[in-house]
Symmetry: C2
Subunit: 143 residues, 2 copies
DNA sequence: AAAAGATGTAAATATTAATATTACATCATA
DNA sequence: TATGATGTAATATTAATATTTACATCTTTT
């Protein structure tokens, strides 16, 4: 499992939703058009963000809106909303526990601490990146 | 692209090579047996580690040995040996630059800084983890 | 000098994971 | 009730990984 395009698409959607506020109703088709991916992919991502409480989506009439101020939405929240298993699925370990070799039997335990450190550092970094900062960057780049 | 099993397998091999020193000749078949994966996979990983100067492999007669002290081999070196594109391939961005939407046109630039921060933090963490520390952990667990 | 046992790689295949599509039930407003 | 939207399951497609096969090459031993 990687930090997949889903995360990038989600950020794209959130910025779009923010920018479109008061201008246009943000439907999954509109987001699909902007991101270049399928409406169902969008609906799934949108659905995850909704479950995480980051956005609200009007059923029937349609349209997505932010529930929380961009300054209070972190990249970690976004990532976590999308990946139910979180960062623990980021790094793969080969299965070899049932072998005779003592290295094989213990490699999983040996790797646990280093990999945990990596996950923790990603988590910390993600927590320090807000949607607001990305929106600010967007405005900076556009103007 | 993820931080794949290759990395775990490489660490497995390096610990094995260290532990086997003076006891057995470490061939790709032996490593394949211990890790549970194919000898060709092992030979490819071993080849990468060799190119990175971490180990030396005797041609013909066979057998791998560490070239550098475990305390001077970092997880970052190991990872980099295996992934030619490095961490920059870790996080995916959806292609949408050719669209009319201003968000689509600029999302790539917006994402660059956050993703760079994540990569840097992984890099820093990996640099602080040595093969020696993992070998120490291994001994601690076994005894 | 040839046999044995290794590595080094290319190429073909198989497997698995990620992404996209189709289809349809459900919902809310005009 | 027609329209345009969301929600989600099932399936198909594509791309990334891993495996296998095959064989050239290398070095020591006999």
């Amino acid at each position: 499992m990687q930090i997949s395009m889903k995360c990038s698409i989600a950020i794209h959607c959130l910025i779009f939703i923010y920018e479109a506020k008061g201008i246009a109703k943000v439907t999954s088709n509109l987001l699909a058009e902007s991101t270049g991916c399928n409406p169902v992919i969008i609906r799934n991502i949108i659905s995850s963000l909704k479950k995480a409480g980051l956005i609200s989506v009007a059923r029937g009439t349609g349209g997505a809106e932010l529930c929380i101020k961009p300054s209070e939405i972190t990249l970690y929240q976004i990532y976590n909303a999308l990946e139910p298993d979180g960062l623990s699925s980021l790094i793969g370990i080969h299965p070899c526990k049932d072998r005779k070799c003592p290295v094989a039997q213990n490699i999983q335990k040996v790797l646990q601490s280093p990999y945990q450190k990596i996950e923790d550092s990603i988590k910390e970094t993600m927590k320090n990146i807000t949607l607001q900062s990305m929106i600010d960057d967007f405005h900076m780049i556009v103007n």
